[in-house]
């Protein structure tokens, strides 16, 4: 099949009605005489940093933001997305009613009543589950939802629909880090509060474009640097945080395990190890030490593409430091061996013994708003609330009791988000409900994803804007924006914070949890889904998580507000032999002498013996390496002005104007070979699709690699090119490496004079 035949449609008529269009501040929002009725303390609706901010509200309209200086994490600081987030509210594209697919309407959709839409959804679920079995109806959820909603989504799938097939968009985000952390530490959470960064002598940032994806963290790193810390950055691109770092390791995409193994080899050779910690607090070091012997500096340099001298220097700085903080993000996690990359990074932390103390830290930088809380309470395909396992009989029994059902009525673990698409494509899954997920933009090889959605008998999307994915829905239900509901989210440090409601949902739009409960009621299966308030959901979640690793039982809304957030685990009462829990929870994990419910006092880590695990991390090349036909590496990522699939940020005018359209970044050496100059229309092709964008020729990327940010849909989508290879353990897709060829385009692409930049 030719790539051209598979090109996504331009969808101009749908876009004309539903956007994305750009909103700017106007009317009462620019009227200096208008005083707000109230200001609401809450948090940003975008990334996992969850910066505190205040929304200024007048007549159910958010006028703008006011910094919240007292909130300790960001102290008033915000990135441009946080400053302009208010423009998503009252937006002309906002879904005010339910819609159903209609061939008679130019846009492809016609309005219908909310009640009728709910019964259409319930009828379809009933029919599909009766005809094809319960698992034939799948649910896709998201980690930008509040923890209460994610808990409810898991309960809805597992107890009401009794389908095995629920998964979430954290599958594209947090799962490699989560799996790696569970294997090494027995718990999946950033080990330290961010204030520990300030005390570190060495800060190692691997695969994290901190300045653009977690901007507030820049301040922590640079304050550490001002206090004398050395900053090491591992990235194939010289990102803004790398510009002033002390040591830059321009790793070839997909070779992170080799780099960390090479650093560990030098730490062992030079005896830069904490022998006491290794002996008393860990297991598995000897086998690992033998396995990394082969990673000499020379071989590491050959595989990683980083100079030998730079590798030696990184190992020496890291090895000799008294305190340190290692942080990583999707750059090392979005790989077919993402878990190995994470484990290899953790290995150099454990070998140094620098964890569980002030200034000694390790963390993955959570991506989505509730990337942490959203992966703890049962919307992952193998999970139950409290970080419990759906396959574990004891865990099933506990949650079944809380929910008042028999354990055997809980389904067994289902499949991951991409596998749900494959099963839809294969006809095994016939119906789908999605919320807070835009897979047509965000999943790799998205030409396949569109084809899969088109094969469904019935697809319902809950959203506040008609996302690229919702364009394929049979029914669209108008959900709620973050500012239209309350609840909690858990941010990057494991700190649970309060989202406060600022405005009411407009017209027929409803709070998402009410929509889910309305569907359950229409199905006649509302038992357990009859909550009257968000806090009521949270109170049940506290009980359901009690005794689990992700224990929220001691967390209350009042405590969160009193302490500017509570760090889980936070137990409600003292367990046998355990010290009394503190009201702020557990800011720092793994402190010497700390208690946890798995080790029960035998050690600080979450295994029965209380010891952390070293893991063997053999190096594997990426699934699709370069060859003669496709000789260049494509890597993907983000820009600061856009968030995730852009369903929100591509509608906020000032953010669109900042970086209107995706460009392909090319090193001048490669550009010269391809006869491409800055600004040229350039076609990037993989075995799965092709994409024509303007070239940005710059020296801040490896010459063997090109980069495209992924936030756009349709023919501008980088994920037309990416590969759906997945990590065997975490099932994260390999967004960060695939093979492409690049050439100057013969002509401007068709979209260039038909669509606006954000469309």
């Amino acid at each position: 099949m030719s790539n051209r035949a598979k090109q996504p449609p331009l969808d101009r008529a749908t876009i004309a009605q539903f956007g994305p269009s750009r909103a700017y501040a106007a009317e009462i929002r620019v009227d200096a005489g208008v005083e707000p009725d109230k200001t609401v303390k809450t948090h940003c609706c975008f990334c996992g940093q969850q910066c505190g901010l205040q929304l200024k509200v007048k007549d159910n309209t958010i006028l703008g933001i006011e910094p919240w200086y007292e909130f300790p994490f960001n102290r008033g600081m915000l990135c441009p997305k946080g400053v302009k987030r208010y423009l998503q509210q009252g937006h002309p594209d906002r879904l005010l009613h339910a819609y159903e697919k209609s061939s008679e309407s130019a846009s492809g959709f016609r309005e219908l009543s909310y009640e009728r839409a709910i019964s259409r959804v319930a009828e379809a679920i009933e029919r599909i589950q009766t005809e094809h079995g319960r698992d034939a109806f799948a649910v896709l959820s998201g980690a930008s939802l509040t923890t209460e909603k994610t808990y409810l989504m898991g309960k809805f799938a597992h107890m009401c629909l009794r389908t095995a097939n629920i998964d979430y968009n954290g599958r594209l985000c947090m799962v490699s880090a989560a799996a790696g952390n569970k294997k090494a530490f027995g718990i999946d959470r950033a080990a330290n509060p961010w204030t520990d960064i300030l005390e570190a002598e060495v800060v190692l940032v691997a695969g994290a474009n901190v300045a653009e994806c977690a901007p507030i963290t820049t301040d922590y790193i640079w304050r550490a640097r001002d206090r004398g810390a050395k900053v090491i950055v591992v990235d194939p691109r010289l990102t803004p945080i790398a510009r002033t770092c002390d040591l830059f390791l321009p790793v070839k995409p997909g070779r992170d395990t080799a780099l960390f193994s090479g650093i560990l080899q030098l730490m062992i050779k030079n005896d830069w190890l904490d022998h006491d910690f290794i002996a008393k607090k860990t297991v598995g070091f000897e086998a690992l030490a033998r396995s990394v012997e082969e990673w000499t500096p020379r071989r590491t340099a050959e595989v990683t593409g980083v100079s030998e001298a730079a590798i030696r220097r990184a190992a020496e700085w890291w090895g000799k430091a008294e305190t340190s903080f290692l942080m990583h993000a999707r750059g090392i996690e979005h790989h077919s061996h993402g878990v190995m990359n994470v484990l290899s990074a953790i290995n150099i932390v454990l070998a140094s013994g620098r964890i569980g103390r002030p200034g000694c830290g390790y963390a993955t930088i959570t991506g989505q708003a509730n990337g942490q809380g959203g992966r703890e309470h049962g919307q992952k395909c193998d999970q139950l609330p409290g970080g419990r396992d759906l396959a574990n009989p004891e865990h099933r029994a506990y949650v079944a009791e809380v929910w008042g059902i028999e354990p055997e009525h809980l389904p067994q673990p289902g499949v991951d988000a991409y596998e749900i698409m494959r099963k839809a494509h294969a006809g095994e899954i016939r119906g789908l409900l999605s919320i807070c997920f835009n897979p047509v933009v965000s999943l790799p090889d998205n030409n396949f994803v569109r084809a899969a959605l088109q094969k469904l008998d019935f697809f319902v999307a809950i959203d506040f804007f008609l996302s690229e994915t919702a364009r394929y829905a049979d029914v669209v239900l108008p959900g709620s924006l973050q500012e239209e509901d309350e609840g909690t989210v858990t941010q990057v440090e494991g700190r649970i914070v309060r989202i406060n409601k600022a405005v009411e949902p407009p017209a027929d739009a409803r709070q998402d949890w009410r929509i889910i409960q309305d569907i359950a009621k229409s199905l006649g299966r509302e038992r357990g889904l009859t909550f009257d308030s968000v806090e009521e959901i949270f109170e049940e979640l506290r009980v359901a998580s009690r005794g689990g690793v992700s224990d929220y039982s001691g967390v209350t809304y009042a405590r969160i507000e009193e302490h500017f957030g509570v760090f889980w685990p936070c137990r409600s009462d003292a367990l046998d032999g355990a010290p009394q829990p503190t009201p702020r929870g557990t800011p720092r994990l793994f402190e010497p002498g700390s208690y946890n419910p798995v080790a029960k006092g035998s050690g600080p880590f979450y295994f029965e013996d209380g010891k952390a695990r070293f893991n063997l991390t053999p190096h594997h090349d990426p699934k699709e390496d370069t060859d003669e036909e496709y000789p260049i590496i494509l890597t993907t990522g983000r820009v600061v002005s856009q968030f995730l699939s852009g369903n929100q940020t591509r509608r906020i005018g000032p953010l669109v104007d900042h970086y209107p359209e995706p460009k392909v970044e090319i090193h001048p050496r490669l550009a010269a070979r391809l006869d491409i100059v800055d600004g040229d229309w350039t076609t990037v092709e993989s075995r799965r699709g092709s994409c024509t964008l303007r070239a940005s020729v710059l020296r801040t990327i490896r010459p063997d690699t090109v980069f495209i940010p992924y936030h756009w849909g349709g023919r501008k989508s980088a994920n037309q090119l990416t590969i759906s290879a997945q990590d065997p353990i975490s099932k994260i897709p390999e967004y960060k490496v695939c093979a492409v060829r690049v050439h100057k385009a013969e002509a401007a692409p068709e979209y260039s004079d038909k669509l606006e930049p954000q469309q």
Partner: protein, 213 residues
Amino acid sequence: MTVPETLEFFVDPGRCIGCQSCVQACAECDTHKGQSMIQLDYLDRAHSTQTVPVVCMHCESPTCAEVCPADAIKRTEDGVVQTARKPRCIACNNCVLACPFGVPKMSTRVNLMMKCDMCYDRTSVGLKPMCASVCPSQALAFATRAEMARLRPGARPVNAFQFGAQTIRTKVNMMVPDEPSCEIVDVTSAMFEPTIGHDILDTVFEGDENEHE
């Protein structure tokens, strides 16, 4: 209430990450909502991600005011140079052309020169300006001189600038590094590229490789 004497504005381009949070936040200021008075540009994107925010430097003897034929631009007692007075401004563009920092903007929509007034509505009641409040890397900071000296030991504030024969003293400070480093790090500098004999490092990162062999 006036701006507390001790709080000053600092621009520290070394910390700028180009996120444009300041540009976006400036447009949230009540006196010019929807319009930003800050310019933020890449120096040379082809070579570096270095960006620089340009805010009004609030000169002691503002060139914009000196060249204004209508005497429309006023400086407050505490040294804040304000947007042109609406009844006086004749939209002649003299200030736009004369400012050595390129700050004033002509709003053709309302025929008025507009510029940063250091968030007078905020700073006059003890709040930080919007841009320095939100800046995620604190490249724009509003703090005391002593705080800055303590927090940024490697840099010092400068507030005198030479433009030809003209010396300009400003209320706003520019942080300059004690030990200037003009080196631009190219990605390829730290790469292992045996095919072109390019396994270099020592020229890029200070120190001697041999010391830790």
